[in-house]
Symmetry: C2
Subunit: 343 residues, 2 copies
């Protein structure tokens, strides 16, 4: 279905969300052309996808990040990366995505178009097709701009058993790169912080890092998790609790870029609580730790990958931080409001 | 993970959405107990589901209906029914759902609990497990209460080829029950209309109507579609366009309950434009029309099912209405804003 072309300055109206003629123009004219998706073009109530027999990973996230555009990304690239990465963290090859917008009446077609373009490009890079969707328009003041929900399906690779409860005594804990970029990129933009060089968000789909890793190290990988909301601190606490182990981190081993560290000091953030949207944690057999890091650096596009800790037996899960001075302190689950609308 | 019990009058705060300790309390204390879902309880980034080799249906919708509670349903029952029904309309048995909330700071725990209870009960009735989810909390004024997104996966039944482009010359068009209840239930509640007997929404999962129908009539069914946003008018126009046929409706044959018709007159609505959330259209071989209606009445819980029209060859898709007087007029795709926040 072809839609009437619209100018960037036109605005979305309630009629665009009503199921009538204008909605069909919007979908035909804007949505379909950004996504190379024969399945979506059928405009059926549901998409048909074909899978081989097996285990699927299924995940969803709604994105409400503010501002919608930030250095290194936007709500569109984030909405694809976030869900694709959650599917990857289960050891699955991303297959397809759904895409659901809630848009405030008055939102510009130009901004929507930028977001759609970003979604299309990121989905292509991630190897996941947008196959089904939904668009609602609500009145002015009933939402702050727009929200984007994605749900994703992936096919879990053979012989992979990955989960937050699978960490074992002796595992090494590896991070794929420096932490906190996404949090700082968004907060600096939101606070109008005038940095000489903006900190770029790490938001990106991890398909081309995680799939080679799993193909190479397969069953030696026990846990994969991306440290999004709540950052490294929340993510490691969740894993420690689920697996009933202690995670012992070496504070100095955790890569934090100089500019991220500097902004953290200005804004009063702890880098361990800052979200990443393009980094992941790997819990792997201790024996494979060095090989895994080398492979991440050389073959997975993760030059800053590093071993940051180990797993120890424990009755109740906790995360311990070995400080430079040699002491150990508990790294708690974050408490309080932290960073609203960061993803 | 167990959470602290909360009282109905407590309010959701930004901290509930931050990925930290309070969020884990909310999920452990409220979400998990309403859904009997071992997969969800793992709290991994993605759920693992197992399917037999084959064709899957995948669909999503975000629900922003206002008010959240209305006669015959609420945003929770609607969020499950809407997506389950979209999966069913592809000829698939619903398997699982994702569930993603965006909640306004200050929303009461009591209202959230009512909605979660409704979601759990409706999902159970629909035969679909809630397996993965997400919760975001945004500031006061950044959303009007809450929105609920669901995405659903179903397994398409063998030998079924159903789609909006599959209507054929000679097909009979059947509706499973009276139309417009959902639209009237919500609009009457929103407008404070004091009806002696409230009109109840039809919102309900159609699993127990559609699956027996497909098992009995299988390949004779060419199109299934639920007339949601834009009502019968939009849905039939979409099918006519996709299939490049004319749909000829008999106006008098379309079941409209007396109370729905009465409220339509008061509020100035056309029942053909009103959404249903628990009715469906069946395009079936003309030869099977009477058998199909009889089966719907007797074995599918659809006592008001009726043949309402037929499909004719046409160059460009259109919907024609045969009026009581014997004339024919075009039933257009609805134009304009219609009914915002109806689903």
């Amino acid at each position: 279905m072809d839609g009437r072309p619209q100018t960037d300055s036109e605005r979305i109206t309630l009629a665009h969300g009503s199921g009538g003629a204008l909605m069909h123009e919007l979908i035909g004219g804007e949505f379909l052309k950004h996504f190379d998706s024969p399945e979506l073009a059928l405009l059926d109530d549901a998409a048909e996808i074909v899978v081989a027999s097996g285990r699927l990973a299924f995940s969803t996230d709604t994105f409400v990040v503010k501002p919608f555009f930030f250095p290194g990304g936007d709500i569109g690239s984030l909405a694809v990366s976030g869900t694709v990465n959650d599917v990857l963290m289960k050891g699955a090859r991303p297959l397809c995505l759904s895409l659901a917008f809630v848009i405030e009446e008055g939102f510009t077609v130009g901004d929507l178009r930028r977001i759609l373009k970003s979604i299309g490009e990121t989905a292509k890079a991630a190897g996941a097709a947008i196959v089904t969707g939904d668009t609602k328009v609500v009145g002015a003041g009933e939402i702050d701009g727009l929200s984007v929900n994605t749900a994703g399906i992936g096919v879990i690779l053979p012989d992979i058993r990955i989960g937050g409860a699978n960490a074992r005594h002796g595992d090494a804990v590896i991070v794929s790169g420096d932490i906190g970029r996404h949090g700082i990129a968004v907060m600096a933009e939101r606070n109008g912080l005038a940095l000489k060089e903006p900190v770029l968000s790490d938001a990106a789909p991890l398909t081309n890092a995680v799939l080679p890793l799993l193909e190479r190290f397969g069953p030696a990988v026990h846990v994969l998790r991306d440290p999004t909301r709540g950052g490294l601190a929340a993510t490691l606490n969740e894993i420690a609790l689920s697996s009933r182990v202690s995670v012992v981190l070496e504070e100095e081993a955790v890569p934090v870029a100089r500019d991220v560290g500097a902004v953290c000091e200005i804004l009063g953030f702890d880098p361990f609580h800052l979200p990443c949207e393009g980094r992941f944690l790997v819990f792997v057999d201790g024996d494979s730790a060095e090989d895994t890091v080398a492979f991440l650096k050389e073959s997975c596009g993760c030059p800053d990958a590093a071993v940051i800790g180990t797993v120890e037996r424990a009755k109740s899960g906790e995360v311990l931080l070995t400080t430079v001075a040699g002491g150990r302190r508990i790294l708690d689950m974050p408490v309080g409001e932290l960073l609203p609308r960061i993803c």
